[in-house]
């Protein structure tokens, strides 16, 4: 039953995009960080936002999470204007933000729906990231990659329809990063939630994204749709060409 819950695709066949960002601007004091941004995220879409530090991409993610309110414009989730925290979304950061005083399982259980099934749902999520055998361990003894996997399990256990990933792999070494990308992709394919991934790693962007958007000084300046089959071969000419195009746009800004 629990297996069924976690492996079941999230509701599909709806034509309203899961998220609609409509002419959103965000200002902190005098500083305008986002300027009339439009974005739609469909069900089961993996959207990647790349850009230099300070371009506004993290702010966009925080707006999607409902942690900030737009200065102008609106965000609709499932059609409803977002007011306050986005109940449909979960945010993952570069730092796993696990509670050090709870075990691995304890951390994941917190995110599961509050039913008697919660521990089972949490264990199932841990299995999906390959850490079921570390359930009783304390987060402090896990590697960075493992901690991020627990953070991912936590997001899965919440059965969120939208995962917001803010450079989640930035603190990991190159090899772990590749493994984590594959894991995220695998789980996303199975569970069919939507992802908005913010990263500065252009190769990561083209490997994972259905669409890659380049943000520069608070606005989208380039959008590329990637229609290649998955998993993608890093060395394929098409992918390399996309990566170069995007990279030069990011660098050129």
């Amino acid at each position: 039953m629990v297996q069924a819950i976690l492996n079941q695709p999230i509701q599909e066949t709806r034509k309203t995009p899961l998220v609609q960002v409509s002419r959103v601007s965000k200002q902190f004091g005098k500083k305008r960080v986002l300027h009339e941004v439009d974005l739609e995220v469909a069900e089961h879409e993996l959207v990647v936002v790349v850009g230099r530090s300070g371009c506004g991409k993290s702010t966009l993610l925080r707006l999607l999470a409902g942690l900030e309110t737009a200065t102008e414009g609106q965000i609709f989730v499932d059609g409803l204007g977002l007011r306050g925290a986005n109940a449909v979304a979960r945010l993952m950061f570069q730092n796993s933000a696990l509670l050090p005083w709870k075990t691995v399982l304890g951390n994941v259980v917190l995110a599961a729906p509050r039913t008697s099934d919660a521990p089972a749902v949490a264990m199932e999520a841990l299995s999906q990231v390959g850490l079921a055998d570390r359930a009783k361990d304390w987060p402090a003894i896990l590697s960075g990659g493992q901690q991020q996997r627990v953070a991912l399990a936590r997001a899965l256990a919440s059965q969120a329809g939208l995962l917001l990933l803010d450079e989640p792999l930035g603190a990991l070494d190159a090899l772990t990063r590749l493994e984590m990308q594959a894991l995220i992709e695998k789980i996303w394919i199975k569970r069919r939630f939507s992802i908005v991934l913010v990263t500065h790693d252009v190769e990561e962007a083209v490997t994972l994204g259905d669409r890659v958007l380049v943000m520069d000084r608070g606005q989208f300046v380039l959008e590329k749709e990637i229609l290649m089959a998955r998993p993608r071969t890093r060395t394929s000419p098409e992918l390399v060409e996309l990566k170069e195009e995007i990279l030069s746009r990011v660098m050129g800004s």
């Binding site: 066949t13 034509k15 309203t16 409509s22 609106q74 609709f76 059609g79 204007g81």
Partner: protein, 388 residues
Amino acid sequence: MKLFWFIPTFGDSRYLASPKGARRTTFAYLCQIAQAVDELGYYGALLPTGRSCDDAWVVASSLFPFTRKMRFLVAVRPGLMSPTLTARMVASFDQMSGGRLLINVVTGGDPVELAGDGVLLDHDERYRLTDEFLTIFRRISAQESVDFKGEHLEVRDAKLLFAGVQKPYPELYFGGSSSAAHEVAGKHIDVYLSWGEPPEQVAEKIAEVRKIAARYGRAVRFGVRLHIIVRETEKEAWTAAEDLIRYVTDDVISGAQKIFARFDSSGQQRMSQLHAGKREKLEISPNLWAGVGLVRGGAGTALVGDPETVAERIREYADLGVDSFIFSGYPHLEEAYRVAELLFPLLRTTPELTQTSPQYLSPFGEAAASGASPHDRSRLRASPQEAR
């Protein structure tokens, strides 16, 4: 157990599909039925909706002032009514009637009629529209102001200023047999309704909807919509059933079936399949008779039998988890009385039904030759605590 009757705003008669015994449903007549429903202690009554009925809101509004206790189960129509306007109408009726509105969410099953009303969506689109409608409606009713930008509906800063009596809104009833409908039911609805299909089929739908509701962390109650042909003996009941359709010709049946075939309603298809347009095998389940559905769309089955048997069949549905029953019978005034007389004593129902609460001694039962009343008058003595 909550027992409803039915206000026949599309016409009433003694026989189906015949001008014989046909009855004009004037305000006076409908008011008689409403007052019967009210006095007899039914929980409430359903008013149908559609182009072949008088408008349910108008009729319900004209009737409630003449009743005291009964509730009115009135249809709201996604696609025809804005959710914000609906919330205002709901709150107003609820206030004016003293909290006696119940909401029936009707998506509609006849694409031809719907096109005439301006709804040109296919079956599944209509349910997505209903989902958007209910999302907006429920939030507005909970005193939130709502922005919504969906596939079918868009509202900006929608709000309800004056709430009704029942909070956050009167119970939402809803019927629909397709999986698109079940999804809406599990997500939004309080009481899921089914037409009178055989118990096993109803049980399947109940299980489906329960599963979907659990996904949303909700509990749903269940209701069944059925005609009743109950008489003191089994034989009389079956005679009455046959009588009801005695003027129905084969031509009328096939004409009606053609019309029902164009409905893209899953529930209508299920009803039509029960009798398959034929008179021969109309008892499709013990005491469940599909004769009405030969010529009537929507609720097409009736429970037929003597009081104990019919009560037993009703309890079978109750055992599946059904706590609400919407009954009707032809003609609707007389049968309201007959069902109350014969069935209410056998069914465990709301206290309203067992209380006679007179404030004065009124005649009860026919007095023989203006001498003695046939009944013990002591139980009719007014008690000081019973206030109107």
